[in-house]
Subunit: 703 residues, 2 copies
């Protein structure tokens, strides 16, 4: 599935089609980047039928004249010439082509057609196409710019963050965070993504030795399984993906679609899928930079605690607030650390975590080094958060230099937070030393939380799990939908080990009365008719029946009501079913097919918890035992199942087993399930089990 | 209650005690600020017994030699000399004294004693003291610096934001946001706040004509009623207070207390009080600046809609996301606006809200002005959000200049969002024009939401309401606490119009049986004993009794159980009470006394909604009808009361009336209530009313 992009990002030879030195043309700017600002030392062939020389280099009239098979073609010629040029490149055996040219699917249908032809060419020949309508590719770690952006030469801080974007502008926002110290080794942004796309770049970076963290600005995912595969690849390499998903609100989604024509998908499903894949979702671009910068320093274990080194009481308290509100833990300084700090610092310093040295330390800057070292090396401290509330010229410059010194000497994770809008020489020194100051304590705490939690997630990951959507047949349409009756649905579920109440489908009143004695009361009587989905609304359900008379009267009454509401609906009879004991909790579980990511299971407690508090969890299928357990535990209602206010614990193990069985059932292609909702699920006390009390099941055709 | 601080912030004459020109001394730096960098043209008297001349000005040996009554004294002498100096100033009739000197309550008990003496002096003489242990006061709009900070001369961007902080460092963080364009007219930061405090400065700024918005960094409130009065003063002037509260988490609170010794209070109560007072709480310092900058432009109506003007598809979508996620509304462009934009912009621009001109507009910068003007002047657009994703030198400089031009010409609220970490000439031009670029779209949306919502809040404010805490007797301790029985509590509540079930206190079994026929069944029987708070746990409650036999057996059984568990507790009998009809919803309401802010009512639906979802609302007393209505409606459970899933609506009007009656009851000093919880409150369907089913009431002594 994944392409080896090594020769795209680091080609040995390049053919440049549409070479020109006309000032400010795209070709001229791209060539200048390549010749003057890149460290490219391979062969470069220029092609332009109207020129014999460009930038003092010979120019070929046609691609076919290239005496070699270049790894990469760069195409800058007008839209109508792009496809013929690509064909000529493919004929030559070129492996990759970058197309800067705009004027395709983003402008009209002819452009869409043109792109479809390009895609067919790529599929048919194996030549991979990057673009069109893109600013190109920037390999900072190798100092290679296959881009016409005049910013290439200014944005060259190498590093272990790989960047993948769809739109170019927001990618450049992130590239400019180099001015905040972030090193970005490789930036891929393939515009209309006719062939190579976000997933390919993630997949490449998952293997790329110089990349430790993959930052993604994600406008939409067209090919769910491909994205999933790339994300799983990164997860297997324990390489974090940090993503900002755009198009989360209705209007954002509309804007994204007009922009990239990519499918944005439902925000809730997207978020659940990203979480399940181990992708760290962030809320804005600055957070993307913050989180990436932490991963670029170190991978988390998941249990890291925080030390706060502050020079003012207000900053100390604010930092402690942010740590506490983010759900992080402050470290407990050792007696040794406390003793060292007491010896170093004046009596009015607050020797605790958070540490407040007081601003007087600026007057005795030689104390900064030993005090910071004591905190950073405390055995309980994994991260030292260092709030810098204000710029204060030379004084703060010394502070920043000591931060750099202790970081360098000890390798400790010391995270300075530059809180002021004034960025002076201290800030500049941090950035020059590749330290990324975070710009607010709130952002710092959020970033550390996401970083730390990734460590916990890594530990729980099931390396061999892969989602059902990767099996293509499971996300293809399954033909016309048919909703079957509750009785049929429960029979199918029971065959997969899902517990359902004892029941009988009764075709007359006397059979109903007989069923009562067979299965024992109390029973419930329910109309069975595929056309009737809201059974209660038409009086099609009677609860708590205990005598044969009650049951037989209920049968007659229910049938009469059903026939008066739906005179023409073929009905199967009345289901007489043993009632669940009182005292249980109601839950629900369902699976639907997301058009991008395939089958998604949703779990929650029923009723108002879902309607008012949207308290549900979601997973792509298959749901393993480990995942079922996590799904149940991550709802806020979990406490109810554990037994709140003196209630005993519910049968959580049985509920987990039900979710796994539901996943197995749905995952069996022979069942051809389109979607299913089991609602309510009765959850008894521990040992009492669970029961699928009702189920709505829609089937497709089995192919 | 409030002091007139006009002559503190703008004195006609000053006496400076401890005058010195010793390089880098506090006195020298303060005098330099006053003489060289301030526009002070009043009389300045210098006092130092060891000098005859400082900075070429004559120096008096003693305060008593000052031939005038200065408005302000500035004191820089060592801690032990401060009190005598203050006394001399008071003797002279000086109205205000600023004490820079440190070494008071922040270091030891002697310092605390010293401060207590200073406070007594202020109270006794009427001379108001600012400090000690503070960096002073900065009146930027008058260019007056009564501060030893070397930063005074650099932080001089005037404006309509007033700043109040407790710690100096975080105040300076905000002052440095002048580098992001915020003008700050006056900054008060009184350190240990021995006399004048945060509330006095808010109170002053509420009247100050040059201040439109009050930004506060609040570490703790010692005097709740004083703070409330100041906040109400600002509310009456419709002047927004934007506050960052520090000490919200347990560790943050601990750090704040060690820092300022101010009472931080419970985070939840603090947040509720701030909200009720109309104070806009923000989550971090950058947000404080963002929100203040919007208020400095204009006051909101509460119904403002947003236009998005963007130059890239990604920014358009991200901006729309943030607006949507924040709960704001995008404007609907008029046909005229659409037509204008279509005419101006190329065919591939996305003409909609969000508008995406595409990056090509940078090549035709003359279109920026008319296009931006069209959006900003659209009748449905109140705020134009302009994301600037990257710095691009001259190109973005032009963009910024056009933003400034349209803002200036039309007066429209155009908010540029500078998303990049690279701040180039465009950014500098915005700042130079007093435009405050917000640094992320997330922050921009959050700030606009808070700004807009203030408009809605202003509309709902009850100008004559003032909280009960302002009446001092109500927050004083009321003597030893006594918990009374349910029967006594309900009698008291009933007298204030709170509906309670019909019931009889029965001292023997036959009286209980008789009570059944009087009040009608079903009834509940409950032990009545002030010592037993968890009646159900000991079998002291029997539900659903319908026959005289059942009631009389219940009486005997309950009494036996109570006596076996609490053999020595004096019990009053058994309450036989009519049961509430089935089908109601349970709620709870209680009032407790916060040590800082006085009586606080808490409301919520009972049980798991509160325990799992913390879904409660709070108000300071008195709770008016308007506030009771809002309290009920702001819980997420409100939908349950409205009638979710086909259930009818509950009797919300009766519930509102109950909350108001509870407030009235608690507010009556004759009742001497310390705290009360009514739990559960039965809420019937519309027209059925509500009932206080149980109540725990603790009384203090009436003085």
């Amino acid at each position: 599935m994944s392409a080896d992009l090594t020769r795209l990002v680091d080609p040995r030879s390049i053919v440049f089609i549409g070479a020109s030195d006309r000032q400010d043309s795209i070709a001229q700017r791209a060539l200048e980047n390549l010749i003057a600002h890149s460290a490219f030392d391979g062969e470069l062939y220029l092609v332009n039928p109207n020129r014999t020389e460009v930038f003092g280099r010979p120019c070929l009239a046609d691609i076919s004249e290239v005496p070699d098979t270049p790894d990469l073609a760069i195409i800058t010629t007008p839209a109508e010439t792009v496809l013929p040029s690509l064909k000529a490149c493919a004929a030559l055996g070129v492996r990759f082509a970058i197309v800067f040219t705009a004027g395709f699917s983003e402008v009209n249908e002819a452009g869409q057609k043109n792109e479809a032809d390009m895609k067919a060419l790529a599929d048919g020949t194996g030549m991979r196409i990057y673009g069109p309508n893109c600013p190109g590719l920037t390999n900072v770690n190798k100092r290679l710019g296959f881009t016409f952006s005049p910013a290439f030469k200014t944005d060259l801080r190498p590093g272990s963050t790989g960047l993948v974007t769809q739109g170019g502008a927001l990618g450049r926002t992130i590239m400019q965070s180099m001015d905040r110290g972030l090193g970005i080794g490789l930036w891929c942004t393939a515009g209309n993504e006719v062939d190579l796309d976000t997933s390919d770049f993630i997949d490449h970076m998952a293997e790329a030795p110089s990349i430790d963290v993959i930052a993604v600005v994600l406008e939409g995912v067209r090919d769910g399984p491909k994205f999933i595969a790339a994300a799983r690849h990164a997860a297997r390499r324990a390489k974090p993906i940090v993503a900002l998903k755009i198009g989360k609100s209705a209007s954002g989604m509309a804007a994204t679609q007009s922009h990239t024509a990519a499918i944005s998908g439902s925000a809730e499903v997207n978020a659940a899928v990203l979480q399940q894949l181990g992708v760290i979702e962030v809320d804005d671009l600055d957070e993307l930079v913050d989180v990436a910068s932490l991963f670029a320093l170190r991978r988390p274990r998941g249990d890291e605690k925080i030390g706060i080194f502050s020079m003012s009481g207000g900053s100390a308290a604010l930092a402690a607030d942010m740590i506490g509100l983010a759900g992080l833990d402050l470290a407990q300084f050792s007696l040794q650390t406390i003793a060292t700090l007491r010896e170093l610092l004046p009596p009015f310093a607050a020797i605790a975590n958070p540490l407040d040295t007081s601003g007087n330390i600026l007057a005795t800057p030689h104390l900064l080094y030993p005090a910071l070292k004591a905190v950073a090396e405390d055995p309980d401290v994994s991260i030292t958060l260092f709030p810098i509330p204000l710029d204060y010229g030379k004084f703060i410059e010394i502070v920043c230099d000591e931060i750099i010194r202790v970081r360098t000497e000890t390798g400790a994770m010391i995270i300075p937070v530059w809180m002021s809008d004034r960025t002076g020489s201290g800030y500049a020194n941090l950035v020059a030393a590749d330290v990324v100051p975070i710009r607010s304590l709130r952002n710092a705490a959020k970033a550390i939380k996401r970083w730390r939690d990734f460590g916990q997630r890594l530990e729980r990951d099931e390396p061999n799990w892969s989602p059902m959507a990767l099996q293509a047949e499971n996300i293809a349409p399954l033909g016309p939908a048919v909703t079957i009756t509750e009785v049929e649905a429960k029979a199918k579920l029971a065959a997969y080990g899902l517990p359902v109440p004892a029941g009988r489908l009764c075709r007359d009143a006397s059979a109903a009365a007989a069923a009562l004695s067979e299965i024992g009361g109390p029973v419930v009587a329910k109309i069975v008719c595929a056309a009737i989905t809201h059974k209660s609304d038409i009086g099609g359900v009677k609860l708590g029946l205990v005598s044969p008379d009650q049951v037989s009267t209920a049968w007659t009454d229910i049938v009469a009501r059903a026939q008066s509401h739906f005179p023409d609906a073929p009905f199967d009879g009345v289901l007489i079913e043993h009632m669940a004991p009182s005292g249980g909790i109601e839950a629900f579980a369902g699976v639907h097919r997301d058009p991008v990511f395939g089958p998604i299971m949703t779990f929650g407690l029923g009723g108002v918890y879902v309607e008012l508090f949207r308290d549900v969890s979601r997973r792509m299928l298959p749901v393993t035992a480990v995942q079922a357990s996590a799904m149940i535990r991550e709802t806020r209602c979990f406490e109810l199942l554990q037994g709140i206010r003196g209630q005993g614990a519910s049968d959580i193990a049985a509920l987990e087993a039900l979710l796994v069985a539901l996943s197995d059932f749905f995952s069996d292609p022979a069942q051809a399930v389109l979607d299913i909702e089991i609602n309510p699920i009765w959850v008894g006390k521990r040992g009492q089990g669970v029961l699928a009390l009702d189920a709505v099941l829609t089937l497709g055709s089995v192919r």
